[in-house]
Amino acid sequence: MTRPMRSLVKPQFVALALILLLNWILFPGFFSFFVRDGRIYGSLIDVLNRGAPVAILAIGMTAVIATRGIDLSVGAVMAIAGAVAATMVGDGTPLFIVLMAALGVGLLCGLWNGTLVAVLGLQPIIATLILMVAGRGIAQTITEGFIVTFNDPGLIFLGSGAMLGLPTPIIIMATLAVLATAVFRLTALGLFVQSIGVNESASTYAGLRSRALLIGVYAFAGFCAATSGIIAAADIRGADANNVGLWLELDAILAVVIGGTSLMGGRFSIPMSVVGALIIQAMNTGILVSGFPPEFNLLVKAALIIVILVVQSPLAGRIWYFVAPSRERPPDDRPSRTTATSAEGGPK
């Protein structure tokens, strides 16, 4: 009975709540919102909207990290996908084909990464570093060094339109998060990904297609990066190959770590990674509305991240365990996704 209650009181939610509270103290209008033309406006919506690109990256990154990998190329893949979308839509290609092409290019980038990792056996950090460096160059080649702007209302809608009163990126993020979570949790895919992250060799011996799975996971990360890239381009109505997604791979990795997935692979949670991305964005938005001089941006961010990670550390978890009233095992094994446990499976 205490279990579902406790699972809501995860440190990530506490951190998010604290940062939102801090924002509210610094900027009293933080929680206020208004509706105009059937669309909701407000700082909270901004957090969700601006957090969407990183959250979408984090969805793919979570799966990669669960396999004990990492994908440094997602920022560059964003640039490539944005460049492809902007150039094609500028040439008058129908939107559907443009989107398929941009997402397809993202998938292709992911397949490339996955092949380097799974077939050639390169270390993920090195394998994806290749595309991280080369990818931006590819994007610049596509845009010929310009910011390629466009006016296609369909494409712009993906970045700054609204559905159900919410900005489109939020809808896309939520849809992707729900779909990805469902696919990983309702099928055995999540278990397989974890299994590879925990012990790739043993997984192969158990009959898993480790290579194919790894390639698939990187392809998924590429797909997410492309989605994010399309949104980012649509947001500014142009593909800025030099700047779009710059350093966002690091934000995405941070989001995954804040969300509680270990860089050592294994247990993962896509929803919590999304929460991690929102925590990061809440900090960014907070800094923007608070009126701090920009020289302090990075300091404030670093300080907050340290606090969050300390709060989530195993040590803090143990302290929490002793302070908290209910008797449960300390979170040395991260929250199990199972709810049904047999009689002897429960805590002793």
């Binding site: 309702l186 055995a188 299994s195 925990v198 012990n199 011996y205 009959g207 294994g266 047999s342 002897e344």
Partner: protein
């Protein structure tokens, strides 16, 4: 009797709830070779690790030259005079021989390593072992035997009182063993106390002065070697000789069923010479051979982990190909590998997940097993195999070695395999689980499964095998059937090469 150089008295040691040493005592006299014997899991290595400071004991005392000592770590123990050489030589393969001998204590001149002096010293040191080699060459350019001697030279040079050798002869040929024993003889004459762990009884009778036998974490006894004949010694080690006899009779009386899998002309260059292998239902094929004889390599081929250069496979009358383990699983093969931690268990995942993973992998990711089915399956195997766990949701990394092995077995039994390949199924597991696993091997065979079992434990192989394949030099060198299967016959076949080799 002389004063003991090192004596351990009433040592207790537990890991969590598992008592691995129970009131164990042992005396080492100066100038003796003391054989420490026992089956795998008897507590030999735990005792050694306590003596050398790698583990701390829960209770009991260790006296060195009559004074109580508390080795903090292996370095501390070395400095006090207790040095160890492990089976897998733990030197640095990519450094020179001289550097390996003097690492951490290099002679210095003007604050810099004086490599000329170091090489001169190294040369002199090794000369005492009749080893005249280029000490400036990289260690791994020399054979394991030479490396072993270098490791001994280092340990003796640092410690000088007590030398502990953990299965030093496991990968040496007869000539190399002779050289080693000559060295041990000299060290003995110098007054050192030498602890010698081995599985080769012949060697015990050749070199040891006294033996201490451990079984099940307890000391069975310590005797001068001349007071014990082989039969008595084996009985001390096995204890349950009767049980084994019974199992042995089962193994030999068993009638093999119809042909299940047939490997023809299977080969992988550098790993396995071309071999033919027929596996029948209801048959246990035991595989014996020294380390490096190609046992594991053969198992990997059979399970599709490595692809053969050539060869054909027929399973139940159908031609088949193994490209990856997945294909083998699809054919009804299962494989519990030698190195459980690296290739077997999924440490962070739960007992339940570890058990269901192979079956789930075979079903594919789109058809997940229901939560209910998973729990039922896990509960069933936890009960059936008596897996000691706090629950099926406990991460498997917290289980003991024997229970982890059972989880790996459960994983495969859940797939209802027709061929089960076991590589060292009883290595590094406690005595209780050991016997259970052997019982299980027999039971599975009786149910008509085909088993291919690799083991270094000859008594075990003798106990359950319907047939025994002896491997050496990456080829099947002989086969024993029925009444031919004895430890002696197997050892003879393994040893045969040494007599053949020189000519």
């Amino acid at each position: 009797m002389a004063e003991p150089l090192l004596s351990a008295a009433h040592i207790d040691k537990s890991f969590l709830d598992n008592k691995v040493l129970d009131d164990v005592s042992m005396d080492l006299l100066p100038g003796e070779v003391h054989a420490l014997l026992g089956e795998n899991g008897a507590g030999k290595s735990t005792l050694i690790k306590i003596l050398t400071g790698a583990y701390t004991h829960d209770s009991g005392t260790i006296l060195l030259e009559g004074r109580p000592v508390h080795p903090r770590d292996t370095k501390h123990a070395q400095e006090m005079g207790v040095g160890t050489v492990y089976q897998e030589v733990n030197l640095l393969p990519n450094m020179t021989v001289a550097e390996n001998l003097y690492i951490g204590r290099q002679p210095r001149r003007f604050g810099l390593v004086d490599s000329r002096k170091m090489e001169r010293d190294a040369h002199q040191l090794l000369a005492r072992y009749q080893l005249d080699i280029d000490v400036g060459a990289q260690l791994d350019t020399y054979s394991v035997a030479v490396q072993q001697i270098i490791a001994i030279a280092r340990a003796v040079d640092i410690s000088g009182k007590v030398l502990i050798l953990d299965e030093p002869t496991a990968s040496l040929d007869q000539h190399e063993v002779d050289v080693l024993f000559a060295i041990l003889g000299r060290l003995k004459a110098d007054g050192m106390a030498i602890v010698f762990i081995t599985h080769f009884l012949d060697q015990v009778y050749e070199i040891a002065d006294r033996v201490t036998v451990l079984r099940n974490g307890k000391r069975v006894g310590s005797h001068p070697i001349q007071d014990l004949d082989r039969m008595e010694l084996v009985k001390m080690m096995l204890g349950q000789a009767l049980e084994h006899d019974e199992a042995m009779r089962i193994g030999k009386a068993r009638q093999a069923g119809e042909l299940y899998a047939s490997f023809r002309n299977y080969a992988l260059s550098g790993k396995a010479a071309p071999f033919d292998l027929d596996l029948h239902k209801g048959e246990i094929v035991g595989v014996a051979g020294l380390l490096g004889s190609g046992r594991t390599e053969m198992a990997r081929l059979l399970f599709g982990i490595d692809r053969p250069d050539s060869g054909e496979l027929t399973v139940a009358g159908q031609k088949a190909r193994l490209r990856e383990p997945r294909d083998a699983v699809a054919l009804g093969f299962a494989f519990a590998p030698e190195d459980r931690k690296i290739d077997g268990i999924l440490g962070d995942l739960t007992v339940r997940e570890n058990i269901m993973i192979a079956l789930q992998a075979r079903q594919g990711w789109t058809r997940p097993l229901s939560q209910k089915a998973q729990v039922e399956m896990a509960d069933h195997f936890v009960k059936a195999l008596d897996i000691r766990t706090t629950g099926i949701e406990q991460p498997v990394k917290f289980l003991s070695g024997g229970n982890q092995q059972k989880v790996v077995l459960a994983r495969w039994l859940a797939t209802n395999p027709r061929l089960l390949i076991l590589d060292e199924p009883t290595r590094g597991i406690d005595v209780g689980a050991h016997a259970e696993i052997i019982r299980m091997i027999n039971a599975l065979c009786d149910q008509g499964m085909s088993l291919f079992v690799i083991s270094s434990e000859l008594d075990e192989i003798v106990a359950y095998s319907s047939r025994v394949l002896v491997l050496r030099d990456r080829a099947i060198s002989g086969e024993l059937r029925g009444a031919e299967i004895t430890q002696g016959a197997i050892m003879e076949m393994i040893a045969a090469q040494h007599e053949v080799q020189p000519l």
